[in-house]
Every structure is written in C-alpha cells, then in structure tokens.
C-alpha cells in the first residue's frame, strides 16, 4: 500500500536467534572474574526510627568484604522525580528512619551469595516503631504521622537541566499532610457546565496496586577500575543515559567515567527506569573494594521493592446533554505512592494527560493528589496512569449511556476528538484515528448483536455473557532527560550498515524496528543492518525506552542519520558518475543515473571510493531529534501547562466476557483492539505489543492485585499474585487504524503502552452488561461478583 520495501512488514526480530538459542546475555548472566555478591538487609517495619545498627559480627564473618549502612552514604539523594518543586527524597540506605516494609537498611558484599545472606542475619538493628499510615485518606489527616518531615534543599536534577530554582515549598499550598505531589488543571467554567447539563452523575472508582512481573529479576553488576577511574555497569534498565546520569551524580563520578554496557533486559513494563538502591550499592561497593560486585534481587524483593502501579481512588462528576454530549467534568484523583515519592506527582499529572486527549470536554476541572503512605513505593507501569483514569472515565460513561438509554458506542463517537483538534495545553492532534478505532472495534466484537443492554430481557442461567468498550490515549515520548535521541549510521565496504543507537532492547523490538527504519531510508535490506545499542560509550545519547518515545523520537533520529549517510553516499556516487546528485536514483543497493540507468555504481563501490578517494573518510551519517524543540515549554506537573508530546497514540478496545454466576468467575472470551499507532513499522512487533498489553490489562481487570496488610505484602510470588497464564488467552483481534502521524518516522507513533489501559474499562463494562451490576473497583474478583449479584437480588426482593 505504501511502496516501502522494509518498513511495515512483519519481519522477524533481529535479536530472535540469540534469544531462542540461549546466547542472549541478560544482566543476571554477567559473570566477571573475582566477582563479589551483594545482599540487602531490609526493614521489617512499615515506619520506624533507626536507633542503632551493629554490623560488627557481620563484618567478622569469613568471606564478608564490606558492610555498608546509611551513615556511610548519608549525603546521597536521588529519585525518579527530582525537580525544584519535588526534590529527591530517596537515599540508597535508610539513615534515620525506615518508611516501608522492604526499605533498604544495610548491604553486605561477600565472596558468595550464601555468605552475604548469612551476614545479613548477623546485623543487629534497633528500631523504635512509629505510628504508620496505610491509606492516602488516613495519611492526609491533620493528626497523621509525617513520613518526610523535611525536604531536601540541595540542587535538583531538573535545576541542572535548566529548570528555574524553587520559589516556595509546595507543601505550603495545602493543609493536607503527607502530600507528595499535586496537579490542578481547569478550563471553561465547570459549575456553569453542570447547570447546563441535562444529566449529572457522580461516581467513585478504585484501582488496585499491581506488579510489573517482568520475568527477568532486577539485577546490577558493577565493575570499577581503580587505575582508570572508570565504572562499568550492567543494569536492568529502560534508559541507559538516564541511569548513567543519575548514578554518576549519586556516586559523584564525572558522567564520562560511568559506562552502562549492553545487556538484554528481560521485560521492564515501566519497572526498570527508577534508580534503585541495589544499583547504587553495587557500584559503591565495587568502587570501595576495587572488585566487581553483583546484586540480584530475588522475586519477593522484586515484588516488594521495585515499584508497583499506583492504586488510585477516582471521583468523577460528569454532566451531559440528553444525547450524551459531555458538557462538564470534575475529576479528583488520589494516588497512594507509598513510602517515597516514586512517580507520584507524575502519575497524578498523567491521569490528566491521558484523559483530556480523548474527549472534548468544554468545562473541566481536575485535581490529582499523590500521597505518602507506609506502603511499598509506586512508580511507572505500562500506561502509567492511563489504565486507572481510562477505567474510571469510561466506566462512568457506560453508566451514563445506560441512564439515558443510549448506546455507549454512539456516546463515545459523539465526544471523541479528531485529527486537527488542538488540546487545551496547545498540543495538536496531527493524527487521530479514534473514530475508525471505535467503529472497527464495535464491528470486531459484534457489538450490536452481543450487547445485552439492547435486549428486552437478559437471559437467566448460570453463564452470562456481555460486551464492553473503552478508549485510551498515550504519549509518543515526552520531555524527560536526556530530552532527545541521536543516532549514527556507519556504512561498510560491502554496502551494508551498522546502526549505533542508545535504545535499550527489553522485548519491545526496538533493534528490529530501528534497523528497518535505517534500511528503508538508506535503501538496503534488513539483513544488511547490524545494530550496536544499549551502551553509553559506543552509542550517541538516547531518550530511552520509556514514555513510549522509541518509535517516534529515536525512530526520527535514526531516519535522519540514515538520510545523512545516504546523502553522503550519493555525493560520492555523483562525483564518480560525473553528474549532479539530483540526477541520481537508487534501487537494489545501486546508485544510477535516472535518465541513463546503465550508468550506475553499487553502494559498495561508492562507499569504497569514499574511503579511497577522500583520504580515508568513511561514510558516517548522524541524526538527532527532540520531541519538541521549544525548550521553554516543558510540561508543568503541577499545572498541566506546556506541551506534552508531539503525537498521541490512541486505541479502542472491546471485551466479551462470560460470568459464572455460581462461582463468580469471569472469563475473557474475546478481546478486540484497534490501535492507532500511525504507520506500523513492523506488523508482527506491533501485534505483539498489543497482545501483551491486552493480556496485562485483562489480568489487571480480573485477577491481579498486590495484597497488603499493614504494609506487609501478602502475595509476593507468582503462585499468589495471579497474572494471566496461557489457558487464559482470549480469542483476540488486533488491528491498527489507518493513520499516518506527520511527526513520526514513516508516520509511526506510540504502540507499546496504550492498549493496556482500555482493557480495564472494556472488561468492567462487559461484566456490567453480562450481569446487570456495576463493580466499582478492580480487580473484578469472584468474591466481588458474587457480592454484587447478592446485593442485586436483595434489591429486587
């Protein structure tokens, strides 16, 4: 349809053979001579003062090389959010207080994991237990104990990146205790909007904390060379340059002395972008001891201490006209970010950021609060705010449609945004396939014949089926360090090319899609491209594989680098053929004169000629790209102003469920997704991203939930934390909308995150359709279904 020969095709991944043969090296596979092993002692209390730590016995244990406590590194601060308004609140090891069960207290390096483990049991910590809070509602009360009494006053990362100094403490803006972040956005006149509405509805929804469950446990290997002063790191990461920045700063090493080296990442889903204490500790210990140090977390530590999705309570009041047109919406969200800020201020910003691109709401007010509690820390997770807010808003819209006797699909179509719309912050939708996505999804799930809402009466009987639909939006990269991506393309004597990119391959297929972009732009085959990536020393800077910027931001950098290489190649060919560059065309790795195709030279000849005739000058193309060039328009987390992203990905998703009214069990039978990712660079990889999102979304809708009791995690294992298994796989239809994003390479934009978000609302709405009752909290467990059915029966009687 496009005339492209490499992009758009479902070509096999270039990292596939390494991965199916067991040759792919992940961080946990790295083994260096003389390597020591680190283990971390963690707090057993949700909130306590550290009175004393005695490490003598541990240090005396044969095989122990070092024991560190908070006092050794008391001046170190870092955090995923480190802005003038929200300065870093994390330390690698607790200094005076612990704030959640799992908080890092001490670390041991020893010659074996077993000895390190034994040494932990010899460390004596005296705690004074403090009162703790476990819900945001408790935590904001005036009499609640404070988790963080003071704010760090040093320079924040964002000040180093050019943000203005802090003017005042954000906590003076509110009387609420334990606030870790607040976003407030309003436009139009929301009260006037409600007065103009024909129907107003208020609802409250609650989402659960969920785990990323990347199969590779988090790990770090650090190897410091004392003579050269260089630190080598192998990390579980999603962004090597952000990790390098944060770790070099925390370790007080010049940035060029820190090298993050290539290893494959075994899944991340948002959970491997924060800087973690185990990474800092491995590096610090290696620097102290002059030997390589490896720290690998066990699965319980991964569940407990490497971030979870924020559980969020969402209040929504929406006013609509009789035909379902939204006239006003007032949204209040309160997110539990645990003992440290994690990504609290970001998630409450993103709950707005992923809500307002979907529907036109003329009068709108949004307030998001992120709150400290003595629960585990919450951070980014696939969709980051989108699953929570999309679930709530689309659940309520489904209820509104029912109230008014309208078809929810018609209500969605009436309210969605379209291509060309300018959002209230100034972002322009240069592509938007929402309408096509909704229509395709509704057709794909057989909406009009399967939606029980339209039937005169629901069938009785044990198994009941229903369908539901929901939408989502997602950025294609946003402004975060290092704010841009660069790429290099080196051409070889045989006409092939090597791509140098800082992207991190974590399963999303970036090596393959970026190689396809290069191949297409340069005019070679995918088999002619090799990729050097994931190494801060060998590759130019990269935004990283988070915020879904891989295709658009890194993709554009690669496309520009390939275009630069191609220009140089044609220049050289033009010289040799004795014609102007504008007279040349390329096909099949040959450059020829358009008017006289017999006059041609191969890419290989032109590249060789460049080396021979130009004093060894090889052809190296470079390219760089930044999402938004206007540096003064970074988004404000607090006010939601500034530009957010240069392209939004969208999706519509529908679910058909079957509810067993005897056991309460819900089965997802069918899942249909139409994702508007612009041009799909690799069809198979795009489908794989969507299918992974659908599975994760279905799991989080129906079974996944971090269970906490007074801050203690009760299900830190795959046996007790129930994520989808192969037999849970629904019939699925995964399609893409036929759009092109003008800002994207070949028209591509986000695909890896959005489709997790629509599944939650689609499933919740389908369950309602099936049993006629609404369940306002996730996950929709058998217990909740049975309770809802019971209450419904009581109400009938």
């Amino acid at each position: 349809m496009t005339g492209y020969s490499v992009v758009g095709k479902g070509l096999p991944r270039i990292d596939g053979p390494e991965k199916v043969t067991g040759k792919a090296i992940f961080t946990v596979d790295v083994d260096l001579p003389g390597m020591l092993y680190g283990k971390i002692l963690r707090s057993p209390h949700p909130h306590a003062k550290i009175l004393n730590i005695n490490t003598e016995a541990a240090e005396r244990l044969p095989g122990v090389k070092a024991v560190l406590t908070g006092h050794d590194v008391a001046d170190v601060r870092y955090a995923f959010v480190d802005t003038p308004r929200y300065p870093a609140d994390e330390q690698p090891l607790a200094v005076d207080k612990v704030r959640y069960i799992g908080d890092e207290v001490a670390v041991v390096a020893a010659v074996s994991e077993a000895i390190a483990e034994e040494a932990l049991s010899l460390i004596k910590v005296e705690y004074e237990i403090l009162p703790a809070v476990f819900t945001p509602e408790e935590a904001i009360r005036p009499d609640a104990p404070l988790l963080h009494e003071s704010q760090f006053t040093g320079t924040s990362a964002w000040e180093e990146w050019g943000a203005a100094k802090r003017v005042k403490d954000y906590r003076s803006e509110s009387s609420l205790n334990n606030l870790s972040g607040r976003t407030f956005v309003a436009f139009g006149d929301v009260e006037q909007g409600f007065r103009e509405a024909d129907h107003v509805r208020e609802d409250k929804f609650q989402t659960a904390a969920t785990a990323h469950c990347a199969m590779e446990p988090h790990g770090a290997v650090a190897s410091y060379e004392p003579v050269t002063g260089k630190l080598h790191l192998w990390l579980s990461t999603m962004g090597i340059f952000l990790k390098r920045y944060n770790l070099s700063r925390a370790l007080k090493l010049p940035i060029s002395r820190v090298r993050v080296r290539h290893s494959y990442v075994g899944g991340a889903f948002g959970g491997k972008i924060d800087v973690f204490p185990y990474e800092f500790c491995a590096a610090y210990l290696s620097m102290k001891l002059g030997r390589p140090v490896k720290i690998e977390l066990d699965r319980e530590e991964v569940f407990t201490t490497t971030r979870q999705r924020h559980p969020i309570t969402i209040h929504i009041k929406t006013g609509v006209k009789k035909d379902g047109t939204i006239v006003a919406q007032d949204v209040k969200v309160i997110a539990d970010n645990g003992g440290y800020r994690g990504s609290g201020p970001i998630v409450v910003f993103l709950c707005h950021g992923f809500s307002f691109p979907v529907y036109k709401v003329p009068n709108y007010r949004y307030e998001g609060l992120a709150v400290y509690t003595n629960n585990p820390i919450r951070g980014p997770q696939r969709g980051h705010g989108a699953p929570q807010i999309r679930y709530a808003i689309d659940s309520q819209l489904d209820l509104i449609a029912r109230d008014l006797g309208l078809d929810p699909v018609a209500v969605l179509l009436k309210n969605i945004r379209h291509k060309g719309d300018v959002l209230p912050n100034g972002d322009r939708l240069n592509s938007c396939g929402l309408q096509e996505c909704i229509e395709g999804t509704a057709a794909g799930i057989n909406w009009s014949s399967k939606r029980w809402q339209f039937a005169a009466a629901q069938p009785l009987g044990r198994f009941r089926r229903g369908v539901g639909i929901s939408l989502c939006a997602m950025f294609s990269g946003a402004m975060y360090y290092p704010f841009a991506s660069a790429a290099m393309v080196k051409l070889h004597d045989d006409g092939s090319a090597t791509l140098y990119t800082g992207t991190q391959e974590m399963g999303q297929g970036s090596y393959t899609t970026l190689a396809q972009v290069l191949a297409e732009e340069l005019g070679i085959g995918l088999e002619d491209v090799r990729v050097v990536a994931g190494d801060t020393e060998l590759t130019p800077v990269d935004l990283g594989s988070f915020l879904s910027g891989g295709a658009l931001v890194t993709g554009n950098a690669v496309k520009l680098a390939a275009a630069d290489a191609r220009r140089q190649l044609l220049e050289c060919a033009a010289e040799i053929l004795g014609v102007g560059m504008e007279q040349l065309a390329t096909r099949g790795k040959k450059v020829f004169v358009r008017e006289d195709p017999q006059r041609s030279i191969s890419f290989a000849q032109a590249i060789q000629a460049s080396v021979f005739k130009r004093n060894g000058n090889p052809i190296i193309g470079t390219g760089s790209y930044k999402g938004y060039p206007e540096t003064n328009r970074y988004p404000s987390l607090a006010k939601g102003k500034g530009l957010f992203t240069s392209a939004y990905g969208f999706a519509a998703q529908a679910a058909e469920v079957e509810v067993d009214t005897v056991t309460g069990r819900v089965r997802l039978l069918n899942a249909v997704t139409y994702h508007d990712c612009g041009f799909p660079l690799n069809k198979t990889i795009v489908e794989g991203q969507v299918q992974g999102c659908v599975s994760m979304g279905a799991g989080q809708a129906l079974s996944e939930e971090i269970v906490l009791e007074k801050g203690q995690l009760f299900n830190p294992s795959f046996l007790t934390y129930r994520l989808p298994l192969a037999p849970d796989t629904p019939e699925s239809l995964d399609k893409t909308a036929n759009t092109l994003e003008p800002n994207g390479p070949f028209g591509a934009k986000e695909v890896g995150e959005g489709s997790v978000a629509g599944m939650l609302g689609a499933v919740a709405n389908a369950v309602h359709d099936a049993i006629g009752v609404r369940i306002n909290s996730l996950p929709i467990t058998p217990e909740k279904v049975l309770r809802a059915l019971e209450q419904k029966q009581k109400a009938v009687r």
Partner: protein, 156 residues
C-alpha cells in the same frame, strides 16, 4: 561435603563436584556456564528454568543437582544442532513468539517435550502444556501460534 555427580548435558558427559543443597539450575548456570536456562522466581512457579530431565520437563530450580546424577539433561543450548535451529526455535523467531526472551528457553523446552510425546496437539493441549510458563510480554498468542505451526508442519 561436596559430591561428584555425572550429568549428560546436551549429549555430553559432564562431571561436577556439588554441595548437596545445590540445585540443578545453579549447576547449569554457575558451574557449566549454561546461562540460557533462566532463574526468574527460583521457587518453581514460573517455568523459566525448565530443562528436560530424561526427556521430561522439570523446573530445574526445584531439582537438587545430586538427584540428577546419571541423568540426561537438555537445555536450550542443546536444541540447535550443528548451528541449525530446531524447528521450534525457527518458528518462535518467525512468528514473533519472542519478545524479551527471558521465558523463551523454558517455553521452548516444554514445547519440545509436548511435541515429542504428542506430535499433533490441539490448541487447548498446547495452552495446557505451557500453563506453567509465565510470559508477560506476548500474551501467549504468538507462542501458541508458533507451536501450532510446528505441530502442523507448516512451512516456517
């Protein structure tokens, strides 16, 4: 006290001195350098460490190395022969059944054990066979497609 055990790993006899509490997973990864077998939960719940022990899939994190003495072990490194990928490996690449690749070795070995005993399984039998292998990336769709393709001897 260490004991000497003999394993036939991917067709080659190997002798290893092991502590009695060492698992087969640890011996494979740490003593024999076969890091293709992955440790993801270390408690027998995810299937990432699956190897074939005398042809049957086992979670190698739950098998004491001394119990494997004298037995044949096949790991992911033993699937390809003379540099030629096994049809399942080929299909996993072609069908996009691999994303991050961390669960892949375990799934491949379970699939091999399935097809060795049941060459033409139904989709349901495939789903049941890999029910003990957690994959967070793919939603299983393309894994099932890849195994089905091999079972049906489709051209890959």
């Amino acid at each position: 006290m260490k004991r000497i055990i003999t394993l036939v790993v991917n067709g080659e006899q190997r002798e290893v001195a092991v502590e009695p509490d060492l698992t087969l997973l640890e011996v494979l990864r740490e003593d024999l350098g076969l890091t293709g077998t992955k440790k993801a939960c270390n408690q027998g719940e995810c299937g990432a460490c699956t190897v074939l022990l005398d042809g049957k899939p086992v979670s190698s994190c739950l098998v004491l190395a001394v119990r494997a003495h004298g037995k044949a072990v096949v790991t992911v490194e033993g699937l390809a022969e003379n540099g030629r990928l096994h049809p399942l490996q080929e299909a996993f690449v072609t069908y996009g059944a691999v994303q991050c690749g961390f669960c892949t070795p375990g799934v491949l070995l379970v699939a091999k054990a399935l097809l060795d005993t049941n060459p033409h399984p139904t989709a349901q039998e495939i789903e049941q066979a890999i029910a003990g292998n957690i994959c967070r990336c793919t939603g299983y769709v393309k894994i099932i497609e890849a195994i089905t393709a091999v079972a049906q001897n489709q051209n890959i």
